[in-house]
């Protein structure tokens, strides 16, 4: 296999990992005002992702870094082209990250409510915008002969991409609800399970619609196959939520996210950013890539260290595997305690 293909696949894996992991983080944030009735329950929800959200977000940073290293032209065009949406994502991720750390540090209702708003908005915006971004990548954007984006902001707001945004938003919300049902006990678990069962139908309609549209638009056989598998996994997950099989439901929504991400990347291949103006202007794995030497170096680094990273990140999930209950959440912190 060509090294450019390997790196395209690796970047697909990084995005799939990012969506799989931060997907439920976003879902937990989005559901904060829906599933919790009081502050202790809000804290219970936040603490289910407390030890892991930061590590989960690193998948995004590594995906960005890997794109820079392996496909500089892709990184350059994508990041300068999707300027304002990325700025919004940055602001959201900044507020959200700080909110997790600072929310519990002052025992004051107004203080907590403000940070809650940051967590909710900071989870909702990226969950929507990543889908819009990927919708546009698949759809193709106006690139000139120098592979520069010449479309402006409004161009990014088209029905297909917006449906993509709605897909990630609803799918991550479902994934978050399923995660909360699995990781908590008591009232929140019950409510999360009920909500997940309720969300199932709409998510199938939206995500199914987006994958169908993608398949019809591109007609890529492997893409169809992966989309089909994602749809099956989603159906299975939704069924599992009906029967309150929490572990199975989480595995299934996780598989849905991973398979759907792979479906999008396989459909995109060998393009990395198609041009809607002329095929010759498209960025592909070949014309956007780094040199074979750089890709070789990066491959060795990835081969050597990815297993280690996966092992210790997996171990973290093992350490914090127990369900949390509202009773385990300590009283609001005093600075001196």
């Amino acid at each position: 296999m060509e090294l450019t293909t390997v790196w395209f696949a690796l970047i697909a894996v990084l995005w799939a990992g990012y969506f799989l992991l931060e997907g439920f983080d976003f879902g937990v944030g989005i559901l904060l005002p829906v599933l919790a009735r009081d502050d202790r329950e809000r804290r219970l929800m936040i603490n289910t992702i407390g030890p892991v959200w930061d590590g989960n977000e690193v998948w995004l940073l590594v995906a960005g870094g890997a794109t820079f290293a392996a496909f500089p032209e892709w990184y350059a065009t994508l990041f300068s082209g999707f300027y304002l949406p990325l700025l919004l994502i940055l602001v959201a991720l900044i507020l959200r990250g700080v909110a997790f750390e600072y929310r519990g540090k002052v025992d004051d209702d107004r203080w907590r409510r403000r940070w809650d708003a940051c967590i909710i908005g900071g989870s909702l915006a990226p969950a929507l915008l990543w889908g819009v971004a990927f919708g546009n990548i698949l759809r193709g954007v106006p690139l000139d002969t120098r592979h520069e984006y010449v479309g402006g902001f409004v161009n990014l707001l088209n029905p297909y991409a917006l449906l993509g945004g709605l897909t990630t938003l609803t799918l991550f919300t479902l994934h978050g609800a399923v995660f909360l049902a699995l990781k908590t006990d008591g009232e929140v678990r019950h409510r999360a399970g009920r909500l997940a069962a309720l969300l199932g139908g709409p998510v199938i309609a939206i995500a199914g619609g987006f994958l169908l549209w993608t398949g019809v638009r591109h007609g890529d056989p492997a893409g169809w196959a992966l989309s089909g598998a994602a749809a099956l996994a989603l159906a299975g997950g939704v069924a599992a939520t009906q029967f309150r099989r929490e572990g199975w439901a989480f595995l299934a929504t996780g598989a849905t996210i991973v398979l759907a991400t792979f479906a999008l990347f396989v459909t995109l291949f060998p393009n990395v950013l198609p041009s809607s103006l002329a095929d010759a202007n498209s960025l592909t794995v070949t014309n956007a890539s780094s040199t074979p030497y750089t890709l070789t170096v990066m491959t060795w680094v990835a081969v050597a260290f990815t297993p280690i990273v996966l092992a210790y990140q997996g171990w973290t999930y093992w350490v914090f595997r127990k369900r949390l209950t509202a009773e385990q959440i300590p009283a609001a912190v005093k600075e001196s305690v």
Binding site: R43, I46, G50, P51, V52, W53, D54, G55, V58, V62, G64, G65, F68, A69, P72, Y75, A76, T77, L78, F79, S80, Y83, L84, L86, L87, L90, V91, L93, I94, L95, G97, F100, E101, Y102, R103, K105, V106, E148, Y149, S290, T291, Y293, T294, V297, M298, V301, F305, T306, Y312, Q313, T316, V319, F320, L324, Q328, P330, A331, E335, S336, V337
Partner: protein, 462 residues
């Protein structure tokens, strides 16, 4: 202002801001790990209380370092896409490696450390903070390797067909002589910064007679760290100056506003005159010092700005190759000055608190508390100097800043981003400082014995 100026302002503001939190993270993570090690080995409670106290301040600071770091990675592509196109093959590699080796390590193990107090065995829990600390050092190494490549590009060729830089030796990039001096210079400065934080916060408490058992050792430890790290900063800074003179002589000349090549060259402590230092009314000078800093010999020749400008114009074509001298001249002095001042205060604090003594002088207490800001200023001026001193280049001698900016991003878009991020950073600074002071004032916690009940409340929760 056009998109280029705005993008430069944004890079300057976001980078200086990010680097307020980074050195505290790097230095304090190791100091907290050291204190926790002392507790695990001796079982003395005051070490545990110190670990918890400094650990809390560390975490308040760490959150800001993390979130402002995301901006750093994104803005290369957003504002500097032509730079990214040109250097991606070389510059992207250390960035990606930094993510895979360092970011995962620090974030994962810090999560384990924060939430693992009552869930991990004592020694394993101790290992998590050390691993997080190692992660911060690795991160520093790779990002400094990337920056050093901009100062002194090695291990690459420019492909004449694509016009882009291509990596020929990753080993050369990772062992760049510039990296090898910049890394220890930066890391010792990080420890100086963290030491000053310990010194200042401890002094604030000791002055009021609070928790002597925690803050007296804190003051002494902080002051020693400032002194020892400060000596390291001086030695590595001296090595760096010599390498800089070799690799970027214009930066050294701009550091002194030295227009004519001189042998020997004197170093001015300060100058009163025109802003760019060309006309001088009065100055305080130390003879031969610049020669010594630049070449290691008091009689060495130091090239001047005018000579270098003529030389560069010949080599690289017509153009202005002189950095903005008022900034390079003063930032260089302020960097050294604030670092040295912090060291002097630390030495005084050590002397006047020797053998259980308590400093009586009110001004010494105030100075010790004020030390907290000095290394932060020194760090900022250091980066402003080294980045502004490289201008007009992004990659010295190879690629110019004016060619680096994103061609399709409008001035309006960059202005939006600059305003949004600056306002956001401003608000967050107020919140962060408020929280930091609140927790610093609260002092070290009392230790409660944890229960063995499996459903006990978490030792730590958001």
């Amino acid at each position: 202002m056009d998109a280029l100026d705005l993008a430069r302002w944004q890079f300057g503001i976001t980078t200086v801001y990010h680097f307020i939190f980074v050195p505290i993270t790097i230095g304090l993570s190791a100091l907290v790990a050291g204190l926790q090690t002392a507790w695990v080995r001796t079982g003395k409670e005051h070490y545990l209380r110190a670990t918890r106290f400094w650990g809390k301040l560390f975490l308040i600071n760490f959150a800001m370092g993390v979130v402002t770091g995301i901006v750093q990675e994104f803005q290369f592509g957003m504002n500097w896409s032509d730079y990214s196109r040109f250097v991606g093959d070389v510059f992207g590699a250390p960035l990606a490696i930094e993510g895979l080796l360092a970011f995962f390590l620090e974030s994962t193990f810090l999560g384990l450390w924060i939430f693992g107090w009552d869930r991990l065995p004592k020694k394993l829990h101790l290992a998590t903070i050390w691993l997080a600390s190692i992660g911060t050092l690795l991160s520093a190494y790779f990002i400094l390797a990337a920056n050093s490549w901009m100062q002194h590009p090695v291990g690459y060729t420019v492909n004449p067909d694509s016009g882009r830089a291509e990596l020929t030796s990753i080993w050369a990039v990772l062992t760049n002589s510039t990296t090898l001096v910049t890394f220890p210079h930066t890391i010792t400065a990080c420890f100086l910064t963290a030491g000053a934080l310990l010194l200042a916060v401890s002094a604030w408490h000791l002055r009021k007679g609070n928790q002597e058992e925690v803050f007296r050792p804190g003051l002494r430890l902080g002051a020693w760290v400032v002194l020892i790290a400060g000596v390291g900063v001086l030695i590595t800074g001296d090595l760096q100056a010599r390498i800089m003179t070799e690799q970027q002589p214009m930066k050294m000349a701009a550091a002194e506003a030295l227009y004519q090549t001189s042998e020997p060259a004197s170093f001015s402590l300060f100058t009163i005159g025109s802003l760019d230092g060309r006309e001088e009314v009065a100055s305080v000078r130390i003879p031969s010092l610049l020669s010594f800093m630049a070449t290691g010999s008091p009689g060495g020749e130091v090239e001047g700005i005018d000579n270098l400008q003529a030389e560069y114009a010949q080599r690289y074509g017509e153009g202005d190759y002189v950095p903005y001298v008022p900034v390079t001249y003063w930032s260089f002095r302020l960097m050294i000055g604030f670092g040295a001042l912090a060291m002097a205060i630390a030495a005084l604090a050590l002397w006047s608190s020797r053998k259980g003594r308590r400093p009586a002088n009110r001004w010494l207490w105030i100075a010790a508390i004020a030390t907290v800001g000095m290394p932060l200023l020194a760090n900022s001026f250091g980066w402003i100097f080294t980045e502004m001193g490289r201008q007009p280049w992004t990659v010295f001698g190879v690629f110019k800043t004016a060619e680096s900016v994103s061609p399709t991003v409008s001035a309006g878009e960059v202005a939006t981003s600059l305003i949004v991020l600056t306002l956001l950073y401003g608000v967050l600074a107020v919140i962060e400082i408020g929280l930091f002071l609140r927790y610093a004032r609260a002092g070290a916690p009392e230790i409660e014995t944890p229960s063995d009940d499996p459903d006990r409340p978490l030792a730590f929760a958001y």
